[in-house]
Every structure is written in structure tokens, then in C-alpha cells.
């Protein structure tokens, strides 16, 4: 494909090759009719073992108590909160692709939106485990909700931890509803093409009887737009509320006003890296390279430069203001991050988040599958370390030197992190074999020739 001179007079087709509706349907629905191949089973056994490891570590943590973790004074929040913020952040890319790109009428989102939304839901499930566990008595989640009780107790509505409860639950519910709404027409299509009686009953039940009636499409499109319109500020608000967990405190390195947009940009950054990584694999194994094209991947990489630069801007602003404020505690935090005992984490974060993604300025790198995959992985590592640096370095050395200490994660901390990745990828593996990974009806609608001509 010759790209020396781009032709701006013509719109770049979203789907390559002008397949017709039934071809699109066939290629997307193909994996659902086949028994999973060996590669899938190998991957599934790996992720399932990771999940099992995590489950065992969680079991021990519940039985023996959180003393088996590395958290203690002064670092009361460790891997638990780092992982929570990490996973919530990953989820944001899905909503951004699905909702925000929809509002911006970017039709290239159709190939990747379904998968991204599913990833959001799975990421939020993984994220939700951590705040639940870190309460110490995860079997009493009701205590986090405002219900009338005999103790006469109510939750503290002014605490950001309570805001988190509402934000994450809302995010999960709305994402699930949005994803399901998009699935209804596809489930109806699958219902009408499947030959298996069991599958047909399931598809029929979950598609609720969708008939592709335009009188329904009429309301459906409006509802989709409304949901997208609500999901957009929702996604901003969720990670903003997560950032409030830190920013409303008085801890140097945490109490800084730029946290809300900085966290949101960082979330989108890490989320896109994860989506890009997984899609690079999925499009190859399912022969979807003409629907999830190199152009789409390139656009995702451009979004990564944009959000990565916003994260870099935030690093710079924090650093400058730490100096400008004249606050010695604030100044010390930043010196400690770069030169103290956790400097290795800090420099990993800076190189993975700021330095390596700059390679995406080069078009060749943006369009190279191996390179973008590698940078995506590095970004994910870097963003995990960013949360680690924020949480641990600010806690381990704050105001009083006599209170300083070190944080050392235990086997169980690491095991639960590994387990969360296991859960995430297990859910993805199950998803790709039970539901269409690309939105069949949306892609059919954006192929060339799909829409009537205007008179």
C-alpha cells in the first residue's frame, strides 16, 4: 500500500475490501460455531492457572487476615490500591472508544468498540476485587452501602472511599448495560443463523425478541446516543473520583490539584495500550485484519502519544510546582522519587511512559505490529509503576522522618496481582468464543455502499 501522498479528497474506508453484509457476518460469527482450537486451550490453561494462584492467595488472605500482605505503617496502601487504580484505568479505554469516539462520529470505532467495551467490564471486575479485599472483611460489603440498620450507622458520604463505591458500581452497571444494548441486535442475528437448538434458545432469550424493526432502531439509536452521552462524563468522573482518594489528603505528592485530569489521561493511555495489545493478537487469529485495520491501530497509537504527552505534561507541572511552591515537604517527595530507595521504580515509569512512546512520532513505528506491541507492553508496565510510585513513595516518606519506613510486597501480594491478570485474560478467552468480538450490525452499517444515497 503506497502511502507516499495521502489523498484527502477521498474518505479512507473503514472496512477494507468492500465485503458484503453476509461476508462480514460469516467472518465474525465463525469462531462461535467452531470448537476452540489447541492454541486457545493452551492459553486458557495458562490463564486459568494464574487465576487459581490468585484465588488461593485470596483465600489465604481472607482466612489469615491482611497481615499476610506487605502493608503496614507507614505504607498502609500497597499493591491492593495500586492494582485497583491500574485496572480501573485499563477499563477507561473501552468506554472512550465506545462512547467518546461515538459522540465524535468516528466511524472507525465500529471494529473495535465491542471488544473494548467487554474489556472494560472485565477490567472493572478485576479492579473491584481489590477495594473489597482490602477492607479486611470482604464478606461484609453491605457495610459500604447506605442501608438502614440496627446500629443506627450510616456511611460517610463525604469520604472519597465511599464516592469510589458509588462510582465503580455505577461504572460497572452502565458499562454492562451499554455493552448489552449493543449486543442485542447481534444476538438476534446469531439466533437467526445458528443451527444448534441450545444456542438458539440462549440467543433468543438474551436478544429479548429483537426483530430489527426500524421503529425499534429509531428509539434504540437515541438510547445509544444518550448512553454514550452519559458514559463520557461518567468515565471522566470515575477516575477523577479515584484520583480524589489521593488528592483530597494533605500528603505531599498526593495533594495536588492536577490529579483528576492527570489520572484520566493516564487511564486512557494505559487502557489504549492494553486494547491495542490484545487486538493485535485477536485480529490475526480470527482473520479480522480487514475489519480491524492497520489504520485503526495507527489511530490508537496516535491517541497513545496524545494521552502519554498529557501524562508527561502532568509530571512536568507537578515537578515545577513542587519547586515553585517553596514547600520543602513537596520538594523532598520529588527528590526522593528520583533519587531515593524507590528510584528504580520511578525511572522505569518515566522511561516507559514518556520516553519509549515518543517513538510513535515516527510513522513507521506506528504502523509496525511488533514495535507497537512492544511499546504497548512497556506502557502498561510503566503505568503500573506510575501508580506504585504515587502510592508507595508518598506514603513511605512523608512529614516526620521518624515515621519513615519501607514497603516490601509479599508473595500473596504478587500472587493476587498475577491472579487478576489471570482473571482478566480468562474472561477475554471465554468472551471470544461465546460472543462476537466485533459488532456485526455496526460494521455492516459502515461498509461502503451500506447506507442509502442522499437525494
Amino acid at each position: 500500500m503506497n502511502t507516499t501522498t495521502a489523498d484527502y479528497t477521498r474518505e479512507v474506508p473503514v472496512v477494507v475490501g468492500r465485503p458484503n453484509a453476509s461476508e462480514i457476518e460469516a467472518v465474525i460469527a465463525a469462531p462461535l460455531d467452531q470448537f476452540p482450537p489447541r492454541g486457545w486451550w493452551i492459553a486458557f490453561s495458562v490463564t486459568l492457572s494464574m487465576l487459581t494462584l490468585g484465588a488461593c492467595c485470596i483465600g489465604v488472605s481472607v482466612y489469615k487476615g491482611l497481615g499476610v500482605w506487605g502493608v503496614n505503617q507507614p505504607v498502609g496502601w500497597g499493591f491492593d490500591i495500586v492494582n485497583f487504580v491500574f485496572w480501573i484505568g485499563i477499563g477507561h479505554a473501552g468506554t472512550l472508544i465506545s462512547a467518546i469516539l461515538f459522540l465524535m462520529r468516528q466511524r472507525w470505532r465500529t471494529g473495535i468498540a465491542r471488544f473494548a467495551e467487554a474489556m472494560t467490564i472485565f477490567a472493572v471486575i478485576c479492579a473491584g476485587i481489590f477495594p473489597l479485599l482490602h477492607t479486611g472483611r470482604p464478606w461484609l460489603p453491605l457495610y459500604l452501602t447506605p442501608y438502614p440498620n440496627q446500629h443506627g450507622l450510616w456511611i460517610n458520604f463525604t469520604s472519597p472511599l465511599v464516592w469510589d463505591v458509588f462510582a465503580v458500581s455505577t461504572y460497572f452497571t452502565v458499562s454492562l448495560v451499554f455493552w448489552y444494548l449493543g449486543l442485542i441486535p447481534d444476538l438476534a442475528t446469531l439466533r437467526d443463523r445458528t443451527t444448534s437448538k441450545v444456542k438458539k434458545t440462549l440467543y433468543a432469550a438474551f436478544s429479548l425478541g429483537w426483530r430489527h424493526s426500524h421503529r425499534h432502531w429509531h428509539h434504540y439509536e437515541r438510547a445509544y446516543l444518550i448512553l454514550a452521552g452519559f458514559a463520557t462524563p461518567l468515565v471522566l468522573s470515575v477516575h477523577t473520583i479515584v484520583s480524589f482518594d489521593f488528592a483530597v489528603s494533605v500528603i505531599p505528592g498526593w495533594h495536588t490539584t492536577i490529579f483528576p485530569p492527570y489520572f484520566v489521561a493516564g487511564a486512557v493511555f494505559s487502557g489504549f495500550a492494553m486494547v491495542q495489545n490484545v487486538l493485535v493478537v485477536v485480529r490475526r487469529i480470527f482473520n479480522l485484519t480487514h475489519i480491524i485495520t492497520l489504520d485503526h491501530l495507527e489511530k490508537m497509537n496516535k491517541v497513545m502519544i496524545l494521552t502519554g504527552s498529557m501524562v508527561g505534561y502532568a509530571y512536568g507541572m507537578e515537578f515545577f510546582m513542587a519547586w515553585y511552591s517553596g514547600n520543602q515537604f513537596e520538594q523532598f517527595v520529588f527528590l526522593n522519587r528520583a533519587l531515593g530507595p524507590y528510584a528504580w521504580a520511578y525511572w522505569t515509569m518515566v522511561s516507559c511512559n514518556v520516553i519509549f512512546p515518543q517513538l510513535f512520532w515516527i510513522k513507521k513505528v506506528r504502523r509496525s505490529i511488533p514495535m507497537m506491541f512492544a511499546i504497548g507492553i512497556l506502557v502498561n508496565v510503566g503505568m503500573w509503576f506510575e501508580r506504585f510510585v504515587i502510592v508507595v513513595t508518598s506514603l513511605h516518606r512523608d512529614f516526620l522522618p521518624s515515621s519513615w519506613g519501607m514497603y516490601v510486597p509479599t508473595f500473596y501480594d504478587v500472587g493476587i496481582l498475577v491472579g487478576s491478570f489471570g482473571l482478566f485474560f480468562t474472561l477475554i478467552l471465554i468472551f471470544i468464543r461465546t460472543l462476537p468480538v466485533v459488532s456485526i450490525s455496526e460494521v455492516k452499517a459502515v461498509v461502503e455502499g451500506a447506507q442509502p444515497h442522499h437525494d
Binding site: 453476509s22 429479548l208 429483537w210 426483530r211 438510547a223 461518567l234 442509502p452 442522499h454
Partner: protein
């Protein structure tokens, strides 16, 4: 399977332009018709002359409901039910309410709008519609576009409709019949099977909740925080000989702010050194009277003359108007109340020190009344 009456005549079209044109033409003649496409076509709303969807109002209404409930709940809790000073902020701190109010607005607006749309507009779930499992539905689900006119349309005539579609260039025209039994266009929410599943789910959920919160939470390891090894009030203990966890204070323990009675067994010293700290005001005398009547009168009589019900039983409670008692300094009286005397027990645990002094004042009043002089009347 016998077919029911005719439901509609359906027609399939190959291209989006064809179905758009067909929809426009059909809208001119008929009212009870619909269009089926595998994905929404731009401009079909206009061709079918559909009014703009009212979903936006639903969303706004539910959203406002969310905002009002959230702010209402938080206001009630922080102002009425459970006011607490948190971080030195006022009870009603509106900036802190914004995040939760926003989340609940979005939650209710999104979820309830979609539910309302599915139940009210679509009348779903409904898998018994006549169009299901027809060739027409299979094609429009996949790659063709369709229009159908219902038999109930006032202008319906089967031949006319078939001709109408043929003129518009339909590739396939079919008749679709109701499945017997009828009533396939109403929602199936009240179907017995669905209600049965709902009932089973409810029972299972209730049972699981009951078992969890009433049985499971009292089992190991969930009960470790409630069953702690430390001793609490009323708990037994193996550590002590008498098996009681609560122990009395050690002999000689003195409470804070309390001096032990210094004149134990020394009535004369008490009389010599103790002075009544209270003044004989009306309030004090009232108190003294009330306490006297409660504690002293059962034995010593209502006016201290020893004429109570116990008089006549050996040993009789003495009168308080004897010369001995009248000549006692106040401290002696106080001592007797504190330590008891002969058969009279100590009233130290029942009457506070101040009250004892009040009683002393009252006894003096009684004594003076009992031995009144002329001069007292002036």
C-alpha cells in the same frame, strides 16, 4: 401445526436505496406497517415519517430522580439522622455531595431509560412474535432489507399489497401468519414459566441471603472478629476460681476523686471533726425530707419518733428526739447513717454523702418541731 389468521405480507429488497424508496411509498398508503433492516439506515426516520424519539425526556426525568434522591438521602443523613462533624466541616457540605449525586444521576438515567425503552417501547421480551423463525426474519437479520404491511391496516387488501410491493421491485413477497394460540404481540412478563423462574430465583436468593447473614457469618473464619479471646462484661472465665470474668476491685481500691471515709469506727471523732457542708435552704430541706421519708421513716417513723410499723419488735428503732440524739453534733448523725449502729445497717451505698447531710438538716428540723418553743412561733 395449524396456522392462525394472516398477520402480514412481507417483502424483501436487495439494496438500501430500494428499501428507502419502498418505505416512503408504503408510508403514503398504509399506517400499520414496519421496516426491518440488519442495521439502522440513515434517513429511514424521515421516510417513515416517524416522530422524534422521546427517549431524551425519559433520560432527563430519571436523571433528575437520581439527583434528587441522592441529594435528599445525603441531606437527611447528615442533617437529621446521623450528623457528625467530619474534618471540621459543616454538617451539610454540598461540595462533598457532588460526586455521589453525579453518579446516581448517571446510573438512574442510563439504566432506567434502557429498561423503560425495552419494556415500554419494545414490549420485550417477546420471542413469540409471528415474524420469528420466518425466512423473512432470517434474511433481514443477515443481509437483506424488508418492509411488511399488517393485515389489520384499514387499507389492507392482500392482492393490493402484493402488487404494491411487486411494483417497488421486491425480490421476495411472502405471507406471514399468526402462530396459534394468538396474543403474540403482548409482552410475556406474566407468562407462568417466567413467573415460575422468577419465584425460584427469589426463593433461592432469599435462602442464600438468610444462610449467609444468619449462619455463615457466625462460622469460622468469619466470626473471628466477633468471638474474640478478650474478656467482656458478663462473660465467664476459666482463669479465675469462681469462673466469673468480671472481678471486683481489690480490697482498699479507691475511686478517682473519692476520699475514703476517715472516721471508720470512730463516731466521736466524726462528731468532733465533721461539719455539715450544706446550708439549710428550702431545696436542701426538701431533699432531706424526701430522702428521710424514703430511707429513714420505715424504721424511725415519719416524724422520727420511732413510731413506725417496726415499733414493738425487738429491738425497737429508737426515737430521734431523745436527748442523746438531740445533743449529738451533726457529725455523729452523719456517722450513724454512714456506718450503721447496732441493728441499723450502713446506708453508705444507698444514700450519697450530700444526701446524708441533707437528711441531717431535716432531722434537726424534726427535732426542733418536736420540741417547739414559744419563741419559734414568732
Amino acid at each position: 401445526m395449524t396456522k392462525g389468521p394472516l398477520y402480514a405480507i412481507t417483502a424483501l429488497f436487495d439494496t438500501p436505496d430500494a428499501v428507502m424508496h419502498a418505505a416512503g411509498e408504503t408510508a403514503k398508503v398504509f399506517t400499520h406497517y414496519d421496516v426491518n433492516t440488519p442495521y439502522p439506515l440513515h434517513g429511514m426516520d424521515h421516510a417513515m415519517r416517524l416522530r422524534p424519539s422521546r427517549m431524551g425526556f425519559f433520560a432527563l426525568a430519571f436523571g433528575l430522580l437520581g439527583t434528587v434522591s441522592a441529594v435528599g438521602l445525603m441531606t437527611w443523613v447528615t442533617l437529621v439522622e446521623y450528623p457528625m462533624v467530619i474534618g471540621g466541616k459543616p454538617f451539610w457540605s454540598w461540595p462533598a455531595f457532588v460526586p455521589i449525586a453525579f453518579e446516581l444521576t448517571v446510573l438512574l438515567a442510563s439504566v432506567l431509560s434502557v429498561v423503560a425503552m425495552i419494556v415500554i417501547y419494545f414490549k420485550f421480551p417477546n420471542n413469540r412474535h409471528p415474524l420469528h423463525d420466518t425466512m423473512y426474519m432470517r434474511r433481514v437479520s443477515s443481509d437483506m432489507f424488508g418492509v411488511y404491511v399488517k393485515a389489520e391496516d384499514p387499507a389492507f387488501d392482500e392482492q393490493k399489497v402484493r402488487g404494491h410491493f411487486a411494483r417497488l421491485g421486491a425480490t421476495q413477497i411472502d405471507a406471514v401468519y399468526f402462530i396459534v394460540p394468538e396474543e403474540t404481540e403482548r409482552p410475556k412478563i406474566f407468562e407462568p414459566k417466567f413467573l415460575g423462574v422468577l419465584a425460584v430465583t427469589a426463593i433461592v436468593a432469599m435462602g442464600a441471603t438468610y444462610v449467609t447473614y444468619n449462619k455463615l457469618l457466625y462460622m469460622v473464619p468469619f466470626n473471628w472478629m466477633s468471638d474474640q479471646a478478650k474478656l467482656k462484661a458478663q462473660k465467664p472465665s476459666d482463669l479465675f476460681g469462681n469462673g466469673i470474668g468480671m472481678r471486683p476491685p481489690v480490697e482498699g481500691t479507691v475511686a478517682r476523686g473519692f476520699l475514703p471515709y476517715p472516721f471508720k469506727g470512730k463516731p466521736d471523732d466524726a462528731g468532733k471533726y465533721l461539719l455539715n457542708p450544706l446550708l439549710p435552704t428550702a431545696a436542701v430541706l426538701e431533699r432531706g425530707k424526701s430522702k428521710f421519708l424514703t430511707y429513714c421513716s420505715p424504721c424511725h417513723g415519719n416524724f422520727g419518733s420511732g413510731d413506725s410499723r417496726l415499733a414493738g419488735q425487738f429491738p425497737s428503732p429508737p426515737t430521734l428526739h431523745s436527748d442523746k440524739v438531740r445533743n449529738w453534733p451533726d457529725g455523729n448523725l452523719y456517722h450513724v447513717i454512714t456506718e450503721g449502729q447496732n441493728v441499723m445497717p450502713s446506708y453508705a451505698t444507698q444514700i450519697s454523702r450530700e444526701d446524708r447531710w441533707a437528711i441531717v438538716h431535716y432531722v434537726r428540723v424534726l427535732e426542733r418541731a418536736h420540741n417547739a418553743k414559744e419563741s419559734d412561733l414568732r
